[in-house]
């Protein structure tokens, strides 16, 4: 009892800030470690000192010559690791924001039908315009598909009347997802030749990552993270209900209208390069919430780091296991861990 009273004398805000700093540093260190391991392992093992040397020399502009290892590290593994970090972070942040916004634990990055739209776009491009714009045909088509689903969802909400409500948004998102999935199934059924390619895309993977794709996704992730983070206090207040949030001076309607569009756009960008990787976006925020609590100011950045760590790990595993689609690995390895966590509760 005495200890408890003393605890109240020290600043609770300072203690919270310290806790946040510890969580972020711990996760950041883990991420660096995981990235390093991921660079080393694969069909060919490359020892860490070699990796350091290659990266250092490339950074200093020393010519690499004909080194096979340098080629693997710089042109294959490094962009792939970065892609995993970016996509994992985007999906986890998107999941955290959507769950907070809809106050629904089942909400995830694909709640507005983005993944189905992107998959449909990708499938259409695989079947009908295989080489029109080179290797980027499919990503571009997928991005257009993802954006189409957002447009469709918002128009359904607009036409449904009765004003803008998050419940309507949720239902519109789910129905659009079903609609696009049905069309996708039909295409897979009709296009017997390309159906395997479509399926591989749908399951999601990072094997096609290159520097150009990393350069395309990186700014999207940074902008998305900053934007999502700037809404974190509004999301906290929204957890107390729309009216309480409004009563605290927050423009709830603006937040509920704009935030899902921002999030779906960054998810579209991520998905169009990597396919609809499952589990990360839905579960990482739940896992982090159990560790850091519901405050979005720590939940969003820590989910981003956790998503990056998890997807990088899953992708290294996928690479070692004959290139199984990483989406399969994320779910297979993540679900047992999540069930284990469900049995334990958060310690404040």
């Amino acid at each position: 009892m005495k200890r408890r009273e003393e605890a109240y004398m020290e600043s609770l805000l300072k203690r919270r800030l310290l806790k946040w700093k510890i969580v972020i540093s711990y996760l950041s260190l883990t991420l660096v470690l995981v990235m390093a391991i991921s660079l080393a392992i694969g069909p060919i093992y490359i020892p860490p000192e070699k990796i350091l040397k290659i990266i250092y020399e490339s950074f200093m502009g020393v010519p690499q010559g004909e080194s096979k290892y340098a080629e693997i590290i710089l042109q294959i593994r490094l962009p792939r690791v970065f892609m995993g970090v970016l996509v994992g972070a985007i999906l986890a942040v998107a999941g955290a924001v959507m769950q907070g916004l809809f106050r629904n634990p089942l909400a995830g990055p694909y709640i507005l039908g983005v993944s189905s739209g992107a998959a449909l776009g990708a499938a259409l491009s695989v079947t009908f315009l295989p080489t029109m714009m080179g290797v980027y045909t499919t990503p571009i088509a997928a991005f257009i598909g993802g954006c189409t689903s957002i447009l469709l969802v918002y128009n359904i909400v607009r036409l449904s009347g009765g004003g803008f409500r998050t419940e309507t948004l949720l239902l519109a998102g789910i129905s659009v997802a079903y609609l696009f999935s049905a069309i996708l199934s039909m295409i897979i059924w009709l296009a017997t030749e390309d159906s395997h390619m479509i399926l591989v895309w749908v399951m999601g993977g990072l094997s096609s990552a290159d520097w150009l794709k990393v350069e395309a996704v990186a700014p999207v992730m940074l902008v998305g993270l900053v934007l999502a983070y700037s809404f974190s206090r509004d999301l906290n207040a929204l957890l107390l209900g729309e009216e309480t949030a409004q009563s605290l001076g927050i423009n709830v309607h603006r937040v509920e209208k704009i935030l899902p569009i921002i999030v779906s756009l960054i998810v579209s960008a991520a998905v169009s390069f990597s396919g609809a990787i499952g589990f990360v976006g839905l579960m990482m925020p739940h896992i982090m919430r159990r560790i850091v609590g519901p405050d979005h100011r720590i939940l969003i950045p820590s989910s981003a780091l956790a998503g990056a760590i998890f997807l990088t790990m899953a992708d290294s595993l996928a690479r070692c296991l004959l290139e199984i689609p990483v989406g399969v690995i994320t779910s297979l390895s993540g679900v047992p861990f999540f069930i284990y966590l469900l049995r334990r509760s958060r310690n404040p």
């Binding site: 408890r4 605890a7 109240y8 600043s11 609770l12 805000l13 700037s230 206090r233 906290n236 207040a237 957890l239 107390l240 209900g241 009216e243 309480t244 409004q246 009563s247 605290l248 001076g249 927050i250 423009n251 919430r289 609590g293 519901p294 405050d295 100011r297 958060r346 404040p348």
Partner: protein
């Protein structure tokens, strides 16, 4: 320093919910809002908080019209204690009360020592400081209600609106919460407007009562003037006895029976029927 409400009219789509609502509230005054279900109590509170816009009429706080104020500005002068809204969140009591500081913070700034000092002060005053690090979903109904009141106070409001703060609480907590509200109103010179279901609590604690009937003010004034047998008959559709208990000095309302019986039940069904 006063809250003036002038001829408010509010519609929900085409249905008229409130009509010709006018009253003035002074500092240090606890006004009880009573009336049957659907008489417009909650709607009126939401209008006073700026959450709903009346079609006609205006509200002046210190001579300034609510319509000309941004939500954030309103949140710095008017705070609402809604019906239990935090039951299923995992925030700690401290985190919840700290949210009351949101209208005072800039978008990208973080709470500082001054905010913590104020939050502690309000938690101390409402007797919730010892609960600071407990999660609110683990607290009892009465404790949680005090946390919500502390959060409202952390907004540093001049007007405190409360929507049935004693609903779902046991008798001891009901009295505790009403004592707290009354004490805060007097000590902080707040304008407090409190929707209440329990007429006995309303009569006992409020300085003034406002009786709403189908969106109109049926009576307003001292509790003894508003709570009359005729008013209870007319508005609540009940037969009630109003008695004065000389020992406690309290007015007691004892509902006897509804004026109309809606059920079709005639006689208890017997075994052989």
């Amino acid at each position: 320093m006063s809250l003036k409400v002038r001829e408010i009219e509010f519609y929900y789509t085409a249905r008229k919910i409130l009509e010709n609502i006018s009253f003035t509230a002074e500092r240090g005054e606890l006004i009880g809002l009573i009336g049957p279900n659907g008489s417009g109590k909650t709607t009126l509170l939401k209008i006073l908080d700026g959450l709903l816009k009346p079609r006609i009429g205006s509200i002046y706080l210190d001579g300034k019209s609510l319509q000309d104020m941004r939500l954030e500005e309103i949140a710095r002068s008017i705070a609402m204690v809604p019906q239990d809204s935090i039951a299923d969140t995992e925030f700690t009591a401290f985190e919840i009360v700290m949210m009351g500081r949101i209208p005072h913070l800039k978008r990208f700034s973080i709470e500082g020592d001054e905010d913590e000092r104020r939050v502690r002060k309000w938690m101390e005053l409402t007797g919730t400081l010892h609960l600071a690090e407990r999660r609110v979903n683990e607290l009892s109904g009465g404790e949680r209600q005090r946390v919500i009141i502390a959060r409202a106070l952390a907004q540093e409001p001049k007007v405190l609106l409360l929507d049935e703060p004693t609903a779902n609480l046991d008798l001891c907590y009901q009295l505790q919460i009403m004592n707290l509200i009354k004490g805060l109103t007097k000590q902080l010179k707040l304008i407090a407007i409190c929707a209440l279901h329990d007429l006995n609590l309303a009569v006992r604690y409020c300085d003034k009562l406002m009786l709403l009937d189908k969106g109109k003010i049926a009576a307003i004034g001292k509790p003894a003037e508003v709570i009359t047998q005729e008013n209870l008959k007319k508005v609540f559709k009940i037969d009630a006895r109003i008695s004065y208990d000389p020992e406690t000095g309290l007015i007691n309302i004892t509902p006897i029976k509804p004026l109309k019986e809606e059920s079709r039940l005639r006689k208890p069904i017997t075994k052989n029927a």
